[in-house]
Subunit: 362 residues, 4 copies
């Protein structure tokens, strides 16, 4: 059974990994780190984990709530890195060097072009040589490459939602690459560090847009839609023109992206219909256990706590625009669930292992 580290376990993605891995029949968490809580046990930081104790009669429990948080990760087979960007790359380099496979939840290895990375993240990349070994960890796209990799760059939460929603349309070349993505996220996406922007009385009963000047996830979205179009046999002749505006919604979990694009007529100047597009989407995701094409507008609450993504494509008949609504749980399919799915691939386990939970509803 592979041993696992979670680096910066005191983040929300760290906590979510603990929750998911506690149901996993193969991985065993043996090392956790977190600067602000070094020396504390997991159940001191997250008291609800004490409930795991009763289920840990096995010789090697997946997650032991009595595990003490350390400063540096112990030697393990696999590590999940939940550090902020830059710090993550340094840790990843260190871990790879000692033979640990890594799922990195930061943005450090998501962009193949280091110049693009440095433009968006405003600092010199700490380990550019590793970028070419990294795979963008969207399993629905790259599962074969992930299986052979040692470093998976787990996608961003907004990016996962938008890319999964738009990939079939780009791959089939049915839209102009002129897209608007209006994304709404729950507040856990902002992380576990308190600030006025995440202060309950400020954000409860409130909607607002943010990062109007440009949100970093846009770079991933652009990169992956270009690649998706190419791999689908409809390469773009110019960079796509994408506006991506994230919004903060008064809920803990969930992202809903509403994507808008102009449909392209076919050779006979006919526009595709909703039914044709839905069929195309269903075929694209036919064998995907976690991506579901639905016939009504999906709700983020369908995904609560689960690794599922629901997608609804529909034509706006008045304007011949394609509208795609895509939603998932930002902490699961948008982060830690996707990370476990990647880890399953790294170890040749069934991709769904430990992820069979359905959304908590209502």
């Amino acid at each position: 059974m592979p041993s696992v580290s979670i680096v910066n376990v005191t983040s929300y993605t760290g906590l979510e990994l603990l929750r998911l891995l506690s149901q996993h029949p193969q991985f065993v968490v043996t090392s956790v780190t977190g600067r602000s809580a070094v020396g504390k046990r997991l159940d001191e930081v997250f008291p609800q984990l004490s409930s795991l104790l009763a289920f840990n009669q096995a010789a090697t429990p997946a997650v032991n709530p009595k595990l003490v948080i350390g400063e540096e990760p112990a030697q393990t087979d696999l590590a999940f890195v939940c550090l902020p960007h830059a710090a993550a790359a340094e840790m990843v380099a260190h871990l790879l060097k000692r033979g640990t496979r890594v799922v990195d939840l930061s943005a450090d290895f998501r962009l193949y072009d280091v110049a693009v990375y440095e433009e968006w993240y405003k600092h010199v990349h700490p380990a550019p040589a590793l970028i070419e070994d990294a795979v963008y960890g969207l399993c629905e796209r790259y599962r074969e490459r992930i299986r052979k990799s040692s470093l998976v760059a787990n996608p961003g939460c907004h990016s996962s939602t938008a890319i999964l929603g738009l990939l079939p349309a780009f791959a089939a070349g049915i839209i102009n690459p002129d897209v608007i993505i209006d994304s709404k996220t729950g507040i856990s996406g902002a992380g576990r560090s308190p600030s006025l922007k995440t202060h309950y009385a400020e954000v409860n009963e409130d909607m607002s847009a943010y990062s109007l000047e440009g949100h970093r996830h846009l770079a991933e979205i652009v990169q992956e839609l270009i690649a998706g179009a190419k791999d689908g046999g409809h390469p773009l002749s110019a960079p796509p023109r994408i506006t991506f505006i994230p919004h903060l919604a008064p809920m803990t979990r969930g992202i809903l992206a509403t994507c808008y694009a102009d449909l392209k007529p076919d050779a006979q100047q006919r526009m595709p219909t909703t039914a044709e597009i839905r069929a195309l989407y269903e075929e694209y995701y036919a064998n995907e256990p976690f991506v579901h094409v639905v016939d009504q507008p999906p709700h983020t609450k369908w995904t609560y706590g689960s690794n599922h993504c629901f997608i609804y494509p529909v034509v706006d008949v008045r304007t011949q625009r394609l509208i795609v609504i895509s939603c998932l749980d930002n902490l699961v399919k948008g982060a830690s669930g996707q990370a476990v799915q990647n880890a399953n691939l790294l170890y040749g386990y069934p991709e769904t292992m430990g992820l069979s939970i359905v959304g908590v509803n209502p």
Copy 2:
């Protein structure tokens, strides 16, 4: 002091009118109706109104919580009609005939073209002859006409938000009339009748889109943006191509519309900058007491319980798109506050009378 009826006071717009009028120094509510509660006193249906009693020492209190809900409106100088469409038109015809001025909060008199109305609302208009006497009650646009009118068609909540956000751009002719409006509303917009769609456990911690097949407010938006472009000296050569998608957000009040459109280059092929557009917006709304152009993304919570609208125009420099974010309280500037503003105009009072409240925050 003009006497006032509220028809269908048991709706949320009716309740909000009571709250706002209780602070109004001129109007006196003397008649309230509401089928489901005939014979009950206001404070039996809305117990919080009992708090008004202490403030009703005047000979003619604006709102008396002991008022009994009737079946038919008594003769009054002014009436606010909060009925659903179709029922509203019949009541409006009846009230106008007996000399009552009317602010109609339904959609029945918002559309000047009866054919468009009947296409969207799927029934024969009950009083088409009255349409030409009605004024679309967006005070920022039509205050002179409203002053001379007897019938004001109070705008829809999504419509108000989007139209106020886009008017300056259409009037100045700086964008292509090819617009996407992604609107997010609180749940009070769905009214006071219980249903699974407004059931707490279903919509709490949830985001979803609705009316993907076309929402009725689109018709108003199109009508008013065409008119705004024309009156601004930049008439459209063809109908605008607008996609409007509303979303339900887990909050009680507030609408935030994010509007996207391509900028048009000027004669010198230069694109307008954010600063230029903001100046243009500020000028357009320079003397408006309730519309505020701001220099950061606004929050619906700034508007909670108030009649104010905040607008933030900004250029997406990567794509040369204009993004406009507009927000207001759907029950106030999006309904009952706008209705009081209209009533002030009908009676020649200062437009802000009774509406000076600032948003409740946090």
Copy 3:
């Protein structure tokens, strides 16, 4: 593998059973009923269940989202009855007659004294003869009897919370049986039928008390605390004097009961300390997988979606009162999770089977 019916699956407890059983390795749901949705597939009523399909490659999936909702339960080994009281008893009688084991989630078989039942529920009990065969389904108390039973009366949500919080104190005889239980519940406890009391805009951002004239769960609480005191060797000399006031809190899930009682001095007139009482509680629940005595005030959010209950006993040193805070998820340990725990006992499975999930947090 035992076949299972869920009667009235369109309720929230029915939906929660589907979610939990979908993770269960033994039970197979083969029949579901629900009057309002007869003829529909499960995934038409609950679209999020479509995500289960990918996991149903087994010959006999635990929950098949394509299952069609019927009017009457088919013959199965086990049935969960989620009907309202009275209707439940009739169904239970019918099911038992044909040899089905039953976990009844209604109140019909919780009270051993039919007169008490009829006083609280205001109707004649439809099947009084079955009462003596029923076991009150609080596993922590009655697991041996449940194992041998065919009819388990699953406890109420408020009752479970309060009884688990107070049992150790009653069993040890350390308090006067003069207790105040102030309980706060999330709104899913009110069920899935829309009403003004559960309408989002009414209950969001609101706290209120209800059932001040007496809530039916009080009868269970009294019955079980008397029994707990007796079985603990400290029988009460008179009925306990208990005030139980439930409150509605603006959240979907969770119950938190704050219980207050006067401590009794021991033979030496010494009052027990917090440390002593905590030790006593820890011993009482030492081997319980789902009940956790903690050393800080627990949060309902620790229990979200899980079958766990957290209990914090503490002495108010100024008044020598015992305060016990107890919390759980009203739909899991307070309803459907407890029901699965009972079903595990009925079939001799490990009590925790299918219930190993930890709370979704944040």
Copy 4:
């Protein structure tokens, strides 16, 4: 028109004072301080206040959003002090010395006994000599003394709720002074400084109790109930035995206190009925504009943004306990609204001036 300072205006009580005073016809805010924002204009810190500008055509607007935040309060007639305890007392001493009347929203002058203060607040009182000049600012109790005072100690939010709920019962001597107060507060009560305890994702969808070891508001409650009993002609023979447990509820505003006490039989050994107690409560608050005795359990949402308090007394007939439910908006009647009410008294204005708003509902 009296000039006003708000000291530490960047707190939630400071912001709420701005909102309320903007509607006040007499006071003019001329000085605001706030360490973290010195040099900024009010509308830079609170952008929603920019909406006030349109209403500030008067020569002396009540609140000017362009006012610059200073480090020290300028000389004004009146000051509201929103500092934390200890810092408040020093500021109050300074302000009184220069002839400014003060409403202090901190706890520094609420307790008449400096020893009690120092026991609860764990530091030496910075200005004990001023205590005897201070009046506890619960207008319903002390309006005559407040009128003649220069220093008003504005009550705590939990204290106001509980004291208003229990005063009539203590004054009439109908209960044993053996009381349990279970109080539920919205999260704005924790102030505007971010922390994990007020982080949205932590407290949304969560209930918990806090300050189990003793909350400071208990000292005020005890002091005022003793005084209320004495002034009502039913002095207590011993200190009351009060347990007060506050809880955090997932809402922004509102406090609901549920109070429990044993009724005392009268001379004929007869227990008072609900009707008698309600009559007694109604008489006690007969002339109060802000306190309303109601005949059903009140909702915090009735009070949202208003200065009203709703109280529901009822006998639990099974146990002969009195239950009193009391609720208000913690930032208005529980803080800044009460402060304005006090300021009105200091200046001989009608007590309700500027406070006539009814709760925002839904």
